[in-house]
Protein backbone atom coordinates (compact mmCIF):
# COMPACT_ATOMS: atom_id res chain seq x y z
CA UNK A 1 0.00 0.00 0.00
CA UNK A 2 1.08 3.52 -0.71
CA UNK A 3 2.29 4.92 2.62
CA UNK A 4 0.41 8.21 2.47
CA UNK A 5 1.85 10.77 4.90
CA UNK A 6 -1.57 11.98 5.95
CA UNK A 7 -2.64 8.53 7.07
CA UNK A 8 0.64 7.87 8.83
CA UNK A 9 0.47 11.17 10.67
CA UNK A 10 -3.14 10.52 11.49
CA UNK A 11 -2.77 7.06 12.95
CA UNK A 12 0.44 7.95 14.76
CA UNK A 13 -0.71 11.15 16.37
CA UNK A 14 -4.30 10.30 17.05
CA UNK A 15 -3.26 6.97 18.52
CA UNK A 16 -1.00 8.76 20.95
CA UNK A 17 -3.52 11.47 21.61
CA UNK A 18 -6.31 9.07 22.42
CA UNK A 19 -3.90 6.96 24.43
CA UNK A 20 -3.05 9.98 26.51
CA UNK A 21 -6.70 10.94 26.85
CA UNK A 22 -7.46 7.47 28.08
CA UNK A 23 -4.88 7.81 30.83
CA UNK A 24 -6.12 11.27 31.70
CA UNK A 25 -9.68 9.98 31.82
CA UNK A 26 -8.58 7.30 34.22
CA UNK A 27 -6.94 9.92 36.36
CA UNK A 28 -3.46 8.82 35.61
CA UNK A 29 -2.16 11.38 36.37
CA UNK A 30 -4.96 13.02 38.15
CA UNK A 31 -4.32 16.62 37.24
CA UNK A 32 -6.19 19.82 37.46
CA UNK A 33 -5.77 23.47 36.59
CA UNK A 34 -2.91 24.58 34.45
CA UNK A 35 -1.15 21.30 34.56
CA UNK A 36 -4.30 19.63 33.35
CA UNK A 37 -4.65 22.26 30.69
CA UNK A 38 -1.22 21.48 29.37
CA UNK A 39 -1.87 17.74 29.37
CA UNK A 40 -5.20 18.14 27.62
CA UNK A 41 -3.79 20.61 25.17
CA UNK A 42 -1.17 18.06 24.18
CA UNK A 43 -3.71 15.25 24.03
CA UNK A 44 -6.17 17.27 21.94
CA UNK A 45 -3.45 18.62 19.70
CA UNK A 46 -2.40 15.07 18.93
CA UNK A 47 -5.85 13.56 18.59
CA UNK A 48 -7.48 16.41 16.71
CA UNK A 49 -4.36 17.16 14.72
CA UNK A 50 -4.24 13.56 13.65
CA UNK A 51 -7.88 13.58 12.69
CA UNK A 52 -7.41 16.76 10.71
CA UNK A 53 -4.40 15.28 8.98
CA UNK A 54 -6.56 12.35 7.98
CA UNK A 55 -8.86 14.67 6.08
CA UNK A 56 -5.98 15.71 3.86
CA UNK A 57 -6.25 12.52 1.93
CA UNK A 58 -9.94 13.02 1.32
CA UNK A 59 -11.10 14.14 -2.08
CA UNK A 60 -13.79 16.23 -0.42
CA UNK A 61 -12.81 17.17 3.14
CA UNK A 62 -15.65 19.69 3.28
CA UNK A 63 -18.06 16.79 3.20
CA UNK A 64 -16.30 14.94 6.00
CA UNK A 65 -19.28 15.42 8.27
CA UNK A 66 -21.20 12.99 6.11
CA UNK A 67 -18.92 10.28 7.39
CA UNK A 68 -20.77 10.04 10.69
CA UNK A 69 -23.86 8.58 9.14
CA UNK A 70 -22.96 4.97 8.47
CA UNK A 71 -21.93 3.76 11.89
CA UNK A 72 -24.05 0.67 11.50
CA UNK A 73 -21.74 -0.91 8.99
CA UNK A 74 -18.73 1.25 8.45
CA UNK A 75 -15.74 1.18 10.77
CA UNK A 76 -14.62 4.46 9.36
CA UNK A 77 -17.92 5.99 10.26
CA UNK A 78 -17.76 4.36 13.68
CA UNK A 79 -14.32 5.78 14.14
CA UNK A 80 -15.63 9.24 13.40
CA UNK A 81 -18.47 8.83 15.84
CA UNK A 82 -16.27 7.31 18.50
CA UNK A 83 -13.69 10.03 18.07
CA UNK A 84 -16.23 12.78 18.39
CA UNK A 85 -17.87 11.10 21.35
CA UNK A 86 -14.51 10.61 23.04
CA UNK A 87 -13.43 14.16 22.35
CA UNK A 88 -16.71 15.65 23.56
CA UNK A 89 -16.90 13.57 26.73
CA UNK A 90 -13.26 14.16 27.47
CA UNK A 91 -13.74 17.86 26.78
CA UNK A 92 -16.42 18.06 29.43
CA UNK A 93 -14.31 16.03 31.76
CA UNK A 94 -11.31 18.19 30.99
CA UNK A 95 -13.30 21.38 31.54
CA UNK A 96 -14.16 20.07 34.94
CA UNK A 97 -10.55 19.31 35.68
CA UNK A 98 -9.12 22.54 34.32
CA UNK A 99 -11.69 25.08 35.34
CA UNK A 100 -13.57 23.50 38.20
CA UNK A 101 -10.72 21.41 39.51
CA UNK A 102 -13.16 18.53 39.80
CA UNK A 103 -12.83 14.95 38.78
CA UNK A 104 -16.04 13.55 37.30
CA UNK A 105 -14.87 10.02 37.62
CA UNK A 106 -17.62 8.38 35.66
CA UNK A 107 -17.23 10.82 32.81
CA UNK A 108 -13.49 10.29 32.85
CA UNK A 109 -13.83 6.54 32.76
CA UNK A 110 -16.36 6.78 29.96
CA UNK A 111 -14.05 9.10 28.06
CA UNK A 112 -11.17 6.69 28.55
CA UNK A 113 -13.21 3.80 27.21
CA UNK A 114 -14.31 5.89 24.24
CA UNK A 115 -10.74 6.98 23.58
CA UNK A 116 -9.49 3.43 23.52
CA UNK A 117 -12.57 2.53 21.53
CA UNK A 118 -11.63 5.14 18.99
CA UNK A 119 -8.23 3.60 18.56
CA UNK A 120 -9.91 0.23 18.23
CA UNK A 121 -12.22 1.52 15.48
CA UNK A 122 -9.26 2.99 13.68
CA UNK A 123 -7.57 -0.37 13.83
CA UNK A 124 -10.70 -2.10 12.63
CA UNK A 125 -10.77 0.03 9.51
CA UNK A 126 -7.63 -1.82 8.50
CA UNK A 127 -8.36 -5.11 10.15
CA UNK A 128 -11.62 -5.61 8.33
CA UNK A 129 -9.96 -5.54 4.92
CA UNK A 130 -9.75 -9.07 3.56
CA UNK A 131 -8.09 -7.56 0.56
CA UNK A 132 -4.98 -6.83 2.59
CA UNK A 133 -4.17 -10.14 4.26
CA UNK A 134 -1.40 -8.66 6.40
CA UNK A 135 -3.89 -6.44 8.14
CA UNK A 136 -6.72 -8.90 8.27
CA UNK A 137 -5.70 -10.28 11.65
CA UNK A 138 -6.56 -9.78 15.32
CA UNK A 139 -2.98 -8.66 15.73
CA UNK A 140 -3.75 -5.41 13.96
CA UNK A 141 -6.02 -4.02 16.69
CA UNK A 142 -3.56 -5.33 19.26
CA UNK A 143 -0.80 -3.37 17.62
CA UNK A 144 -2.85 -0.22 17.44
CA UNK A 145 -4.16 -0.55 20.98
CA UNK A 146 -0.86 -1.50 22.54
CA UNK A 147 0.89 1.36 20.77
CA UNK A 148 -1.73 3.84 21.86
CA UNK A 149 -1.67 2.64 25.45
CA UNK A 150 2.10 2.53 25.68
CA UNK A 151 2.42 5.91 24.03
CA UNK A 152 -0.30 7.28 26.23
CA UNK A 153 1.49 5.98 29.31
CA UNK A 154 4.69 7.53 28.13
CA UNK A 155 3.05 10.87 27.52
CA UNK A 156 1.13 10.65 30.74
CA UNK A 157 4.42 10.28 32.55
CA UNK A 158 3.63 6.85 33.96
CA UNK A 159 7.28 6.17 34.62
CA UNK A 160 6.86 2.78 36.14
CA UNK A 161 4.14 1.56 33.86
CA UNK A 162 5.39 2.95 30.60
CA UNK A 163 8.48 0.75 30.15
CA UNK A 164 6.37 -2.33 30.65
CA UNK A 165 3.70 -1.17 28.29
CA UNK A 166 6.31 -0.18 25.75
CA UNK A 167 7.88 -3.59 26.09
CA UNK A 168 4.48 -5.17 25.62
CA UNK A 169 3.76 -3.10 22.52
CA UNK A 170 7.21 -3.96 21.20
CA UNK A 171 6.52 -7.61 21.82
CA UNK A 172 3.22 -7.42 20.00
CA UNK A 173 4.93 -5.71 17.12
CA UNK A 174 7.43 -8.57 17.00
CA UNK A 175 4.64 -11.11 17.07
CA UNK A 176 2.86 -9.18 14.32
CA UNK A 177 5.96 -9.37 12.20
CA UNK A 178 6.48 -13.00 12.97
CA UNK A 179 2.90 -14.00 12.27
CA UNK A 180 2.39 -11.92 9.20
CA UNK A 181 5.53 -12.88 7.37
CA UNK A 182 4.05 -13.78 4.02
CA UNK A 183 0.40 -13.13 4.58
CA UNK A 184 -0.63 -12.78 0.95
CA UNK A 185 1.24 -15.88 -0.08
CA UNK A 186 -0.49 -17.83 2.71
CA UNK A 187 -3.91 -16.33 2.24
CA UNK A 188 -5.06 -18.74 -0.42
CA UNK A 189 -5.52 -15.88 -2.82
CA UNK A 190 -3.15 -15.78 -5.70
CA UNK A 191 -3.09 -14.83 -9.35
CA UNK A 192 -4.75 -18.17 -10.04
CA UNK A 193 -7.84 -17.44 -7.95
CA UNK A 194 -7.79 -13.79 -8.98
CA UNK A 195 -8.11 -14.73 -12.62
CA UNK A 196 -9.91 -18.02 -12.17
CA UNK A 197 -7.30 -19.50 -14.48
CA UNK A 198 -5.22 -21.19 -11.80
CA UNK A 199 -6.48 -24.71 -12.43
CA UNK A 200 -5.36 -24.51 -16.04
CA UNK A 201 -1.71 -24.01 -15.26
CA UNK A 202 0.75 -21.47 -13.97
CA UNK A 203 -0.60 -17.97 -14.49
CA UNK A 204 1.65 -15.03 -15.18
CA UNK A 205 0.69 -11.43 -15.84
CA UNK A 206 1.58 -10.55 -19.41
CA UNK A 207 0.85 -7.12 -20.88
CA UNK A 208 -0.49 -4.66 -18.35
CA UNK A 209 -3.88 -3.18 -19.20
CA UNK A 210 -2.30 0.23 -19.52
CA UNK A 211 1.24 1.54 -19.70
CA UNK A 212 0.11 4.81 -18.15
CA UNK A 213 -0.41 5.04 -14.44
CA UNK A 214 -3.64 5.01 -12.47
CA UNK A 215 -5.09 5.26 -9.00
CA UNK A 216 -4.79 1.54 -8.34
CA UNK A 217 -1.12 1.41 -9.19
CA UNK A 218 -0.35 4.45 -7.09
CA UNK A 219 -2.42 3.30 -4.15
CA UNK A 220 -2.02 -0.46 -4.04
CA UNK A 221 1.09 -1.67 -5.73
CA UNK A 222 3.73 0.04 -3.65
CA UNK A 223 6.66 -2.33 -3.44
CA UNK A 224 9.18 -2.10 -0.64
CA UNK A 225 12.56 -3.79 -1.00
CA UNK A 226 13.27 -6.47 1.60
CA UNK A 227 16.56 -4.95 2.68
CA UNK A 228 15.03 -1.57 3.06
CA UNK A 229 12.18 -3.00 5.09
CA UNK A 230 14.52 -4.80 7.45
CA UNK A 231 16.53 -1.68 8.06
CA UNK A 232 13.44 0.33 8.75
CA UNK A 233 12.09 -2.34 11.08
CA UNK A 234 15.23 -2.14 13.19
CA UNK A 235 15.21 1.63 13.23
CA UNK A 236 11.50 1.84 13.96
CA UNK A 237 11.69 -0.71 16.69
CA UNK A 238 14.67 0.96 18.33
CA UNK A 239 13.09 4.39 18.20
CA UNK A 240 9.63 3.37 19.28
CA UNK A 241 10.48 0.93 22.02
CA UNK A 242 14.10 0.08 22.79
CA UNK A 243 15.49 3.58 23.17
CA UNK A 244 12.54 5.02 25.10
CA UNK A 245 12.66 2.06 27.48
CA UNK A 246 16.36 2.56 27.90
CA UNK A 247 15.95 6.24 28.54
CA UNK A 248 13.35 5.49 31.12
CA UNK A 249 15.06 2.75 32.99
CA UNK A 250 18.53 4.26 33.06
CA UNK A 251 18.62 6.08 36.36
CA UNK A 252 19.47 9.64 35.44
CA UNK A 253 20.30 11.91 38.25
CA UNK A 254 18.63 15.26 38.43
CA UNK A 255 15.02 16.07 37.79
CA UNK A 256 15.82 18.32 34.90
CA UNK A 257 17.77 15.63 33.14
CA UNK A 258 15.10 13.07 33.93
CA UNK A 259 12.44 15.26 32.38
CA UNK A 260 14.65 15.95 29.46
CA UNK A 261 15.19 12.25 28.95
CA UNK A 262 11.48 11.57 29.27
CA UNK A 263 10.80 14.25 26.69
CA UNK A 264 13.40 12.72 24.44
CA UNK A 265 11.84 9.30 24.95
CA UNK A 266 8.50 10.70 23.83
CA UNK A 267 9.96 12.25 20.70
CA UNK A 268 11.87 9.09 19.83
CA UNK A 269 8.77 7.06 20.42
CA UNK A 270 6.69 9.25 18.11
CA UNK A 271 9.35 9.05 15.43
CA UNK A 272 9.53 5.31 15.90
CA UNK A 273 5.79 4.81 15.75
CA UNK A 274 5.63 6.94 12.62
CA UNK A 275 8.34 4.81 11.11
CA UNK A 276 6.52 1.60 12.05
CA UNK A 277 3.27 3.01 10.71
CA UNK A 278 5.02 3.82 7.48
CA UNK A 279 6.09 0.19 7.37
CA UNK A 280 2.60 -0.93 8.33
CA UNK A 281 1.36 0.58 5.08
CA UNK A 282 4.36 0.09 2.89
CA UNK A 283 4.66 -3.60 3.68
CA UNK A 284 0.98 -4.33 3.27
CA UNK A 285 0.11 -5.96 -0.01
CA UNK A 286 -3.28 -5.49 -1.57
CA UNK A 287 -4.61 -8.40 -3.61
CA UNK A 288 -5.23 -6.04 -6.50
CA UNK A 289 -1.51 -6.16 -7.13
CA UNK A 290 -2.04 -9.74 -8.28
CA UNK A 291 -3.93 -8.53 -11.31
CA UNK A 292 -0.99 -6.37 -12.24
CA UNK A 293 1.51 -9.12 -11.60
CA UNK A 294 3.05 -6.98 -8.91
CA UNK A 295 3.06 -9.60 -6.19
Amino acid sequence: MHPAPSVIIFTTLSGLGFGLLAFLGLGMPSVTGWVAFVFYAIAYALAVGGLLASTFHLGHPERAWKAFSQWRTSWLSREGCAAVAALVIMAIYAAGAVFLETDWRFLGALGAVLSIGTVFTTAMIYTQLKTIPRWHSPLTPMVFLSFAIAGGALLAGRESLAPWLLALAGAIQLIYWAKTGKPLAQSGTDIGTATGLGDRGAVRAFEPPHTGSNYLLREFTYVLGRKHALKLRVIGFALAFALPIALMVIPFSGLMLKHLMAGLAVLLHIAGVACLRWLFFAEAEHVVGLYYGKR
Binding site: M1, H57, L58, G59, H60, P61, R63, A64, K66, A67, F68, S69, Q70, R72, T73, S74, W75, L76, S77, G80, I125, Q128, L129, K130, T131, I132, S187, G188, T189, I191, T193, A194, T195, G196, L197, R200, G201, A202, V203, R204, A205, F206, E207, P208, P209, H210, G212, S213, N214, Y215, L216, R218, E219, F220, H286, V287, V288, Y291, Y292
Partner: protein, 265 residues
Protein backbone atom coordinates in the same frame (compact mmCIF):
# COMPACT_ATOMS: atom_id res chain seq x y z
CA UNK B 1 -32.56 10.51 1.11
CA UNK B 2 -28.88 11.17 1.70
CA UNK B 3 -27.63 9.81 4.95
CA UNK B 4 -30.06 6.92 5.08
CA UNK B 5 -28.86 3.42 5.75
CA UNK B 6 -27.58 2.66 2.32
CA UNK B 7 -24.40 1.00 3.31
CA UNK B 8 -26.35 -1.83 4.68
CA UNK B 9 -26.56 -4.20 1.82
CA UNK B 10 -30.07 -5.03 0.77
CA UNK B 11 -30.97 -8.47 2.07
CA UNK B 12 -31.92 -9.33 -1.45
CA UNK B 13 -32.22 -7.53 -4.74
CA UNK B 14 -35.12 -7.85 -7.16
CA UNK B 15 -32.78 -8.70 -9.99
CA UNK B 16 -29.08 -9.30 -10.30
CA UNK B 17 -28.04 -7.38 -13.33
CA UNK B 18 -24.50 -7.98 -14.44
CA UNK B 19 -22.05 -8.92 -17.12
CA UNK B 20 -20.86 -12.26 -18.36
CA UNK B 21 -17.44 -12.04 -19.94
CA UNK B 22 -16.27 -14.71 -22.29
CA UNK B 23 -12.55 -15.29 -21.87
CA UNK B 24 -12.68 -17.70 -24.76
CA UNK B 25 -13.48 -14.97 -27.28
CA UNK B 26 -12.12 -11.76 -25.85
CA UNK B 27 -9.41 -10.69 -28.28
CA UNK B 28 -8.10 -7.97 -25.99
CA UNK B 29 -8.95 -5.10 -28.29
CA UNK B 30 -9.73 -2.55 -25.53
CA UNK B 31 -12.85 -1.39 -27.37
CA UNK B 32 -14.90 -1.82 -24.21
CA UNK B 33 -12.35 0.18 -22.25
CA UNK B 34 -12.58 3.20 -24.46
CA UNK B 35 -16.30 3.16 -25.13
CA UNK B 36 -16.79 2.98 -21.37
CA UNK B 37 -14.46 5.92 -20.94
CA UNK B 38 -16.31 7.89 -23.59
CA UNK B 39 -19.79 7.17 -22.29
CA UNK B 40 -18.96 7.77 -18.68
CA UNK B 41 -16.98 10.90 -19.36
CA UNK B 42 -20.05 12.43 -20.91
CA UNK B 43 -22.66 10.84 -18.67
CA UNK B 44 -23.21 9.67 -15.06
CA UNK B 45 -21.45 11.98 -12.64
CA UNK B 46 -18.18 13.78 -13.13
CA UNK B 47 -16.12 13.20 -16.29
CA UNK B 48 -13.39 10.59 -16.06
CA UNK B 49 -10.42 12.90 -15.96
CA UNK B 50 -6.88 12.46 -17.19
CA UNK B 51 -3.76 13.89 -15.65
CA UNK B 52 -0.73 14.82 -17.71
CA UNK B 53 -2.55 13.42 -20.74
CA UNK B 54 0.08 14.55 -23.23
CA UNK B 55 2.99 14.42 -20.85
CA UNK B 56 5.65 12.19 -19.44
CA UNK B 57 3.45 10.40 -16.92
CA UNK B 58 -0.05 10.17 -18.29
CA UNK B 59 -2.69 8.75 -16.02
CA UNK B 60 -6.42 8.74 -15.86
CA UNK B 61 -9.61 7.27 -14.54
CA UNK B 62 -11.12 4.28 -16.34
CA UNK B 63 -13.93 2.02 -15.16
CA UNK B 64 -12.96 -0.97 -17.20
CA UNK B 65 -9.51 -2.33 -17.94
CA UNK B 66 -8.30 -5.24 -20.02
CA UNK B 67 -5.47 -7.26 -18.54
CA UNK B 68 -3.74 -10.17 -20.20
CA UNK B 69 -2.26 -13.29 -18.69
CA UNK B 70 -0.09 -16.09 -19.86
CA UNK B 71 -1.03 -19.56 -18.72
CA UNK B 72 1.51 -22.33 -18.89
CA UNK B 73 -0.37 -25.64 -18.68
CA UNK B 74 1.26 -28.49 -16.81
CA UNK B 75 2.95 -31.11 -18.92
CA UNK B 76 1.00 -34.35 -19.22
CA UNK B 77 1.65 -37.67 -20.85
CA UNK B 78 -0.39 -36.66 -23.85
CA UNK B 79 1.11 -33.19 -24.00
CA UNK B 80 4.69 -33.30 -22.76
CA UNK B 81 5.41 -29.75 -23.81
CA UNK B 82 2.12 -27.87 -23.98
CA UNK B 83 2.26 -24.42 -25.52
CA UNK B 84 1.70 -21.45 -23.27
CA UNK B 85 -1.65 -19.74 -23.73
CA UNK B 86 -2.62 -16.12 -23.58
CA UNK B 87 -5.86 -14.92 -22.06
CA UNK B 88 -7.24 -11.41 -22.39
CA UNK B 89 -9.02 -10.41 -19.28
CA UNK B 90 -11.43 -7.48 -19.07
CA UNK B 91 -12.30 -6.35 -15.60
CA UNK B 92 -14.77 -3.85 -14.22
CA UNK B 93 -16.99 -3.84 -11.14
CA UNK B 94 -18.54 -7.25 -10.54
CA UNK B 95 -21.52 -5.79 -8.66
CA UNK B 96 -20.94 -8.20 -5.80
CA UNK B 97 -23.84 -9.46 -3.74
CA UNK B 98 -21.79 -9.10 -0.60
CA UNK B 99 -20.06 -5.96 -1.68
CA UNK B 100 -17.50 -4.94 0.92
CA UNK B 101 -17.09 -1.61 -0.82
CA UNK B 102 -20.61 -0.72 0.21
CA UNK B 103 -20.42 -1.66 3.84
CA UNK B 104 -17.12 0.10 4.46
CA UNK B 105 -18.32 3.39 3.06
CA UNK B 106 -18.65 5.91 5.88
CA UNK B 107 -20.97 8.29 4.10
CA UNK B 108 -23.47 6.06 2.42
CA UNK B 109 -22.26 7.25 -0.94
CA UNK B 110 -21.65 3.67 -1.97
CA UNK B 111 -24.76 1.61 -2.20
CA UNK B 112 -26.26 -1.40 -3.85
CA UNK B 113 -29.54 -0.85 -5.58
CA UNK B 114 -32.45 -2.95 -4.43
CA UNK B 115 -34.13 -3.17 -7.78
CA UNK B 116 -31.23 -4.51 -9.82
CA UNK B 117 -28.25 -4.98 -7.56
CA UNK B 118 -26.15 -2.36 -9.29
CA UNK B 119 -23.48 -0.97 -7.01
CA UNK B 120 -23.23 2.77 -7.41
CA UNK B 121 -21.49 5.74 -5.89
CA UNK B 122 -23.56 8.77 -5.19
CA UNK B 123 -20.93 11.31 -6.04
CA UNK B 124 -22.45 14.17 -4.11
CA UNK B 125 -22.07 12.19 -0.88
CA UNK B 126 -18.64 10.78 -1.55
CA UNK B 127 -15.81 12.27 0.49
CA UNK B 128 -13.16 10.51 -1.53
CA UNK B 129 -11.73 8.59 1.41
CA UNK B 130 -10.77 5.68 -0.82
CA UNK B 131 -11.77 3.04 1.67
CA UNK B 132 -14.19 1.35 -0.69
CA UNK B 133 -11.41 0.94 -3.23
CA UNK B 134 -9.25 -0.55 -0.50
CA UNK B 135 -11.93 -3.05 0.29
CA UNK B 136 -12.54 -4.13 -3.30
CA UNK B 137 -10.44 -7.16 -4.18
CA UNK B 138 -10.84 -6.56 -7.89
CA UNK B 139 -9.50 -3.08 -8.37
CA UNK B 140 -12.84 -2.01 -9.70
CA UNK B 141 -12.85 1.47 -8.23
CA UNK B 142 -10.69 4.39 -9.14
CA UNK B 143 -10.65 7.72 -7.34
CA UNK B 144 -10.86 10.53 -9.84
CA UNK B 145 -8.04 12.95 -9.18
CA UNK B 146 -9.73 15.99 -10.66
CA UNK B 147 -13.07 15.48 -8.99
CA UNK B 148 -11.94 13.84 -5.75
CA UNK B 149 -14.73 11.29 -5.84
CA UNK B 150 -14.77 7.56 -6.31
CA UNK B 151 -15.64 6.33 -9.78
CA UNK B 152 -16.73 2.88 -10.70
CA UNK B 153 -18.66 0.97 -13.31
CA UNK B 154 -22.31 1.96 -13.13
CA UNK B 155 -23.39 -0.95 -15.30
CA UNK B 156 -24.45 1.95 -17.48
CA UNK B 157 -27.45 2.57 -15.29
CA UNK B 158 -28.04 5.64 -17.43
CA UNK B 159 -28.34 3.52 -20.57
CA UNK B 160 -30.07 0.32 -19.59
CA UNK B 161 -33.35 2.02 -18.63
CA UNK B 162 -32.92 5.07 -20.80
CA UNK B 163 -36.17 5.98 -22.55
CA UNK B 164 -34.23 8.22 -24.90
CA UNK B 165 -32.44 5.23 -26.34
CA UNK B 166 -33.99 2.70 -28.67
CA UNK B 167 -34.75 -0.58 -26.92
CA UNK B 168 -31.80 -2.45 -28.50
CA UNK B 169 -29.40 0.12 -27.20
CA UNK B 170 -30.46 -0.20 -23.58
CA UNK B 171 -27.40 -2.18 -22.79
CA UNK B 172 -24.05 -1.08 -21.38
CA UNK B 173 -21.78 0.83 -23.72
CA UNK B 174 -19.07 -1.80 -23.41
CA UNK B 175 -21.43 -4.59 -24.37
CA UNK B 176 -22.79 -2.68 -27.30
CA UNK B 177 -19.35 -1.96 -28.66
CA UNK B 178 -17.56 -5.27 -28.11
CA UNK B 179 -16.67 -6.41 -31.62
CA UNK B 180 -16.08 -10.02 -30.63
CA UNK B 181 -19.33 -10.35 -28.73
CA UNK B 182 -17.40 -11.39 -25.65
CA UNK B 183 -19.54 -9.37 -23.25
CA UNK B 184 -23.07 -10.31 -22.31
CA UNK B 185 -25.49 -8.40 -20.14
CA UNK B 186 -28.56 -9.58 -18.31
CA UNK B 187 -30.19 -10.73 -15.11
CA UNK B 188 -28.07 -13.32 -13.41
CA UNK B 189 -30.71 -13.73 -10.76
CA UNK B 190 -33.08 -15.25 -13.26
CA UNK B 191 -31.98 -18.79 -14.04
CA UNK B 192 -33.81 -18.67 -17.35
CA UNK B 193 -32.12 -15.57 -18.66
CA UNK B 194 -29.74 -15.87 -21.59
CA UNK B 195 -26.81 -14.94 -19.42
CA UNK B 196 -27.67 -17.48 -16.74
CA UNK B 197 -28.01 -20.17 -19.38
CA UNK B 198 -24.68 -19.21 -20.84
CA UNK B 199 -23.07 -19.37 -17.42
CA UNK B 200 -24.57 -22.79 -16.84
CA UNK B 201 -23.55 -24.12 -20.22
CA UNK B 202 -20.01 -22.85 -20.15
CA UNK B 203 -19.13 -23.26 -16.49
CA UNK B 204 -19.09 -19.58 -15.66
CA UNK B 205 -16.89 -18.79 -12.68
CA UNK B 206 -16.34 -16.26 -9.91
CA UNK B 207 -13.13 -14.36 -9.37
CA UNK B 208 -11.54 -14.82 -5.95
CA UNK B 209 -14.50 -16.71 -4.50
CA UNK B 210 -12.55 -16.98 -1.26
CA UNK B 211 -13.08 -13.28 -0.68
CA UNK B 212 -16.74 -14.00 -0.05
CA UNK B 213 -17.90 -11.10 -2.16
CA UNK B 214 -20.24 -13.25 -4.25
CA UNK B 215 -19.71 -11.41 -7.53
CA UNK B 216 -22.69 -11.13 -9.83
CA UNK B 217 -20.53 -10.82 -12.94
CA UNK B 218 -19.34 -14.16 -14.20
CA UNK B 219 -16.42 -15.19 -16.37
CA UNK B 220 -16.65 -17.92 -18.97
CA UNK B 221 -13.37 -19.82 -18.93
CA UNK B 222 -11.40 -20.32 -22.14
CA UNK B 223 -12.21 -23.61 -23.86
CA UNK B 224 -9.48 -26.24 -23.88
CA UNK B 225 -6.83 -25.44 -26.45
CA UNK B 226 -4.28 -27.13 -28.65
CA UNK B 227 -6.12 -30.42 -28.80
CA UNK B 228 -6.07 -31.06 -32.51
CA UNK B 229 -3.49 -33.80 -32.38
CA UNK B 230 -5.35 -35.59 -29.57
CA UNK B 231 -8.68 -35.27 -31.29
CA UNK B 232 -7.75 -36.30 -34.76
CA UNK B 233 -6.47 -39.70 -35.64
CA UNK B 234 -4.22 -39.04 -38.57
CA UNK B 235 -4.07 -42.70 -39.37
CA UNK B 236 -7.81 -42.84 -39.83
CA UNK B 237 -9.00 -43.40 -43.42
CA UNK B 238 -9.49 -39.66 -43.77
CA UNK B 239 -5.97 -39.17 -45.00
CA UNK B 240 -5.25 -42.61 -46.41
CA UNK B 241 -3.30 -42.07 -49.64
CA UNK B 242 -5.25 -42.86 -52.78
CA UNK B 243 -2.03 -44.09 -54.30
CA UNK B 244 1.58 -44.26 -53.30
CA UNK B 245 3.02 -43.31 -56.69
CA UNK B 246 2.24 -40.24 -58.81
CA UNK B 247 1.24 -42.55 -61.66
CA UNK B 248 -1.17 -44.31 -59.35
CA UNK B 249 -2.54 -40.94 -58.42
CA UNK B 250 -3.40 -40.19 -62.04
CA UNK B 251 -5.13 -43.54 -62.29
CA UNK B 252 -7.19 -42.68 -59.24
CA UNK B 253 -7.95 -39.35 -60.78
CA UNK B 254 -9.37 -40.87 -63.88
CA UNK B 255 -11.67 -43.10 -61.87
CA UNK B 256 -12.68 -40.33 -59.54
CA UNK B 257 -13.56 -38.10 -62.47
CA UNK B 258 -15.78 -40.84 -63.82
CA UNK B 259 -17.70 -40.79 -60.60
CA UNK B 260 -18.50 -37.12 -60.87
CA UNK B 261 -22.00 -36.26 -62.00
CA UNK B 262 -21.94 -36.34 -65.78
CA UNK B 263 -18.41 -37.61 -65.57
CA UNK B 264 -18.36 -40.85 -67.57
CA UNK B 265 -17.35 -40.21 -71.10
Amino acid sequence: MEGGQMTELPAQTDRKMGLVIDLDTCVGCHACVISCKGWNTENYGAPLSDQDPYGADPSGTFLNRVHSYEVQPQATGAQPAPAAQLVHFPKSCLHCEDAPCVTVCPTGASYKRVEDGIVLVNESDCIGCGLCAWSCPYGARELDLAEGVMKKCTLCVDRIYNDNLPEVDRIPACVRTCPAGARHFGDLGDPDSDVSQLVAARGGMDLMPEMGTKPVNKYLPPRPKDRIEDQIDVLAPLLAPVAEEPTGFLGWLDKALDKLPGGNS
